[in-house]
C-alpha cells in the first residue's frame, strides 16, 4: 500500500520537475486520445509540438508563437500575483474583453486623426477598462465579503454581452454596410499595433508581456509588496500579524491582474484581431489560468509556459488542417495538462512511501 508523507519543506527538485513531467504525461494521454479518434498518435504529437517550430512551413508559424504567447503571458502574470496571495481572479476573459472595448473605443474616437499619442492613450484606456472591471469583484469582496471567484466569472458573461452590443451598436463601422464589427484598426496607422520587427510576430503586446515578466520578478523577489503577497498566500494569519492589510492586497492584486488583462485585450484588438467583433475573444483569459499554474506562478516559468501553450494553439491549428483533428481535442488537451500538473504536484509537497504492515 502506498502512503503519502508530508514533506517538511516542498521539494525544490520536484518544483522544477513536475511541470515537465505533467507535459510528458499529457503527451502520452493526449496521444492515446488522438489514437482513439483514429489518428496516428506520434504523428499528431509531432504535428503539435514540432511542426510549428521546425516543420516545412515553420517560417510562417514561428512569428505566431509570440503573437499568441504575448497575451497569455501578460494575463497569466497578473493572475499569478493574485493566485499566490489566495485571491482568485477567474474572470480575466471579461477584463480582457472590456480592455479591448475601451482601448478600441479611444482609438476609434480619434479616427481619422494621425497623432503619435493615440496609441499610448489606447494602452492606458485598455488597462483602465480591465482595471475597472476587476475592481468590481475587488470592491465587493473588500466591502461585503462577496466571493471574488463567482463575481469575476459572472462578469465574463456580462462582458460578452456588452461586446456583442458594442459590435452591433456603438462601435460598429459606419462604413461597414450594416455588418457587425468595428472599423479595422489595422488600416488606421495611428491606432495599429503593428509588428515592430517584420516577420517576428513581435508587437507591443509582446514587449509589454516581457516587461511584465521582469516587473513581476523584481516585485516578488525584491519588493515588500511581493513579500506580502507570498506571505498572505502561505500564512494568512502570520501576514495579519505582520501588518499586511488584506483589503489593500486584494485590491492591488485584482487591479493589477485586471489592468494587465485589459491591456492584453487592447493589444489583441488593435493588432492581430484588428477589430471589435462579436467573438474576437478566443478564451485567452481562461487558458492563462493554465499558463499561470503550469509556470508554477513564477514569472520566468509563466513566460516558458505561455510559449508552450502558444505552441499547442498553433500546433492544434496545423493538426486541424493536416490531420483534421477537431479543435475541441486541443481544448481538451490543454485542460488535461492542468489536470496532470495538479496531480503530479502531490510529489512536491508529499513523499510517497511504501507502507509496511502496521502493528497496532
Amino acid at each position: 500500500m502506498l502512503k503519502l508523507e508530508k514533506r517538511p519543506q516542498p521539494s525544490r527538485a520536484w518544483t522544477y520537475l513536475t511541470p515537465v513531467l505533467a507535459v510528458v504525461v499529457t503527451m502520452l494521454a493526449g496521444g492515446a486520445l488522438f489514437a482513439m479518434l483514429g489518428n496516428d498518435p506520434v504523428e499528431a504529437i509531432r504535428t503539435i509540438f514540432w511542426e510549428p517550430l521546425f516543420g516545412e512551413f515553420a517560417s510562417y508559424y514561428r512569428p505566431q508563437l509570440l503573437v499568441k504567447a504575448g497575451p497569455l503571458i501578460l494575463i497569466a502574470i497578473g493572475l499569478s500575483l493574485g493566485f499566490r496571495a489566495g485571491i482568485w481572479n477567474i474572470g480575466a476573459e471579461g477584463q480582457y474583453i472590456i480592455g479591448a472595448i475601451t482601448g478600441a473605443a479611444v482609438g476609434l474616437a480619434f479616427y481619422p486623426v494621425d497623432l503619435w499619442v493615440i496609441f499610448p492613450l489606447m494602452i492606458l484606456a485598455g488597462a483602465l477598462g480591465g482595471w475597472v472591471w476587476a475592481m468590481i469583484p475587488g470592491l465587493l469582496k473588500v466591502r461585503f465579503g462577496t466571493n471574488e471567484i463567482l463575481v469575476s466569472l459572472m462578469l465574463v458573461y456580462v462582458a460578452e454581452q456588452l461586446l456583442a452590443k458594442m459590435a452591433l451598436g456603438l462601435l460598429r463601422n459606419p462604413e461597414g454596410r450594416g455588418f457587425p464589427g468595428s472599423r479595422n484598426l489595422q488600416q488606421y496607422p495611428a491606432a495599429h499595433n503593428a509588428e515592430i520587427i517584420t516577420g517576428t510576430g513581435m508587437h507591443w503586446g509582446v514587449v509589454a508581456a516581457f516587461i511584465a515578466v521582469i516587473f513581476a520578478y523584481v516585485l516578488l523577489s525584491r519588493h515588500i509588496l511581493g513579500h506580502q503577497i507570498q506571505l498572505a498566500g502561505q500564512a494568512p494569519r502570520a501576514a495579519r500579524f505582520a501588518g499586511v492589510n488584506p483589503a489593500r492586497l486584494t485590491l492591488i492584486c485584482l487591479g493589477l491582474s485586471g489592468a494587465l488583462a485589459g491591456m492584453a485585450g487592447m493589444f489583441e484588438v488593435s493588432g492581430p484581431a484588428g477589430q471589435i467583433s462579436i467573438d474576437f475573444n478566443v478564451g485567452y483569459g481562461f487558458t492563462a489560468i493554465i499558463v499561470a499554474f503550469l509556470g508554477r506562478l513564477h514569472p520566468v516559468g509563466i513566460a516558458l509556459a505561455g510559449l508552450l501553450m502558444a505552441l499547442t494553439y498553433i500546433g492544434g491549428e496545423i493538426a486541424e488542417l493536416n490531420l483534421s483533428l477537431p479543435a475541441a481535442a486541443i481544448q481538451m488537451f490543454q485542460g488535461m495538462l492542468l489536470f496532470f500538473l495538479l496531480a503530479v504536484d502531490v510529489l512536491t509537497n508529499y513523499r510517497v512511501r511504501l507502507r509496511t504492515a502496521e502493528v497496532a
Binding site: L4, E5, K6, W88, I90, L140, F144, G145, T146, N147, I149, L150, V151, L153, M154, L155, V156, Y157, V158, Q161, L162, A164, K165, L168, G169, F286, I289, I290, F293, P326, A327, A328, A329, I330, Q331, M332, F333, Q334, G335, M336, L338, F339, L342, A343, D345, V346, N349, Y350
Partner: protein
C-alpha cells in the same frame, strides 16, 4: 412592447422548467460543500452530462437512459476531481477550474456529430383530471418526470442532512474534518461519495438542458448555469429548501427576460441577456453579509498527518 402576449400560466410553467437544471446542479454542490469540499467544476460536469445524456438519448431513442448516463458521465468527471483533491491532495479551487476547462473541451469533442439533431422528446407526465385543471394543470402537473424527481431530491437531501446518521456524519466531516477523523469517520471516503453525488446531480442538470429545456446540442450550451448553481448554494446559506427557492427565483428571471425579449421590450436584447448574471452578483452581495453558515472546513485539504 406588447406585455399582454406574456401569459402568466406559461410563464410559471416555463419558470419551473428553467429552474430545474440549476436546481439539480446546486443541490449536488450543496451536498459536496456540506462535506467540506468546494468543487468549482460544476459547469464542466453539467456540460459533460448534457452531451452524454444527449448522445445516449439520440442513439438509443430513450431519454430515460440518456438521463441515467448523464448522471454517470457527470459522476465520472467528478471522480477525476475526487482523485485529484482527496487522493493527490491538490488545491480544490485549481482542480475545479481544471475540471471545467477539461469538461468544456471533452463535451465539444464528444458533441461533434450531434449539432443540429433533435433528441427524442421526453414524455410529459399526464395525469388524467389533474393535468386538465385550468391553471394548476399546466403549472403544477404538466411537466416531465425529471421536474418531480428534482423536487423529490430536494426533500430527500433535506431530510437526509437533517434527520439521518449519514447526514450527521457528512456535516461533521464538513464542519471539522480533524474531529470527524478522530472519531473514526472515514473523511476521505465520505467526501469522495459526496463529490460523486454532486457530479451525478450536475450531470442530470446538464442533460435536462440539452434534452428538455433547449432541446438540442450546441457547444458550451450550459452558458454559465454551473456557475449560477454555485452562487445558488451561497444564496441558500447551504440549506436544501432555500436552494429550491433560489432556483425558482433565477428560473423566473431567466424566463422573464426571455419573454421580454420576445415581446420586443425597449431594453436591448444584450442587456436583458446580462440580467441573470447581474442579479446573481447582486444576490451574492446581499447574501455574503452572513458568512457564518458556511461549513467550517470548506475548501481545506485533509491529510491524516496534520
Amino acid at each position: 412592447m406588447d406585455l399582454s402576449s406574456i401569459s402568466p400560466t406559461l410563464l410559471l410553467a416555463s419558470l419551473i422548467v428553467a429552474a430545474t437544471p440549476i436546481l439539480l446542479a446546486a443541490l449536488g454542490e450543496l451536498v459536496v460543500e456540506r462535506a467540506g469540499v468546494l468543487n468549482l467544476g460544476v459547469e464542466g460536469m453539467m456540460i459533460t452530462g448534457a452531451i452524454c445524456g444527449f448522445a445516449i438519448a439520440v442513439n438509443t431513442g430513450s431519454p430515460a437512459l440518456g438521463f441515467v448516463m448523464a448522471a454517470v458521465g457527470g459522476a465520472a468527471l467528478a471522480l477525476l476531481f475526487a482523485l485529484l483533491t482527496q487522493v493527490a491532495l491538490a488545491n480544490q479551487v485549481a482542480s475545479g477550474l481544471a475540471l471545467t476547462l477539461f469538461g468544456l473541451g471533452l463535451s465539444a469533442l464528444l458533441g461533434q456529430g450531434y449539432v443540429g439533431i433533435k433528441p427524442p422528446p421526453t414524455g410529459k407526465l399526464d395525469i388524467p383530471m389533474l393535468s386538465d385543471l385550468p391553471f394548476l394543470g399546466r403549472v403544477v402537473f404538466g411537466h416531465d418526470l425529471m421536474v418531480y424527481i428534482a423536487l423529490a431530491l430536494v426533500a430527500a437531501v433535506w431530510a437526509t442532512l437533517k434527520y439521518t446518521r449519514a447526514g450527521l456524519i457528512l456535516r461533521a466531516v464538513g464542519e471539522n474534518h480533524d474531529a470527524a477523523h478522530a472519531l473514526g469517520y472515514k473523511v476521505v471516503r465520505v467526501r469522495i461519495l459526496a463529490i460523486l453525488f454532486g457530479g451525478a446531480c450536475a450531470g442530470l442538470g446538464g442533460a435536462y438542458i440539452s434534452l428538455v429545456r433547449v432541446p438540442q446540442w450546441t457547444d458550451g450550451m450550459t452558458a454559465g448555469a454551473g456557475w449560477i448553481a454555485l452562487a445558488l448554494v451561497v444564496f441558500a446559506s447551504w440549506k436544501a429548501g432555500r436552494v429550491l427557492l433560489g432556483a425558482w427565483l433565477f428560473g423566473g428571471i431567466t424566463v422573464l427576460q426571455l419573454n421580454l425579449q420576445a415581446a420586443g421590450a425597449a431594453i436591448p436584447v444584450e442587456y436583458l441577456s446580462m440580467s441573470p448574471y447581474l442579479i446573481t452578483i447582486l444576490v451574492l452581495v446581499i447574501m455574503s453579509a452572513d458568512k457564518s453558515r458556511a461549513p467550517a472546513s470548506l475548501g481545506r485539504t485533509f491529510h491524516a498527518s496534520q
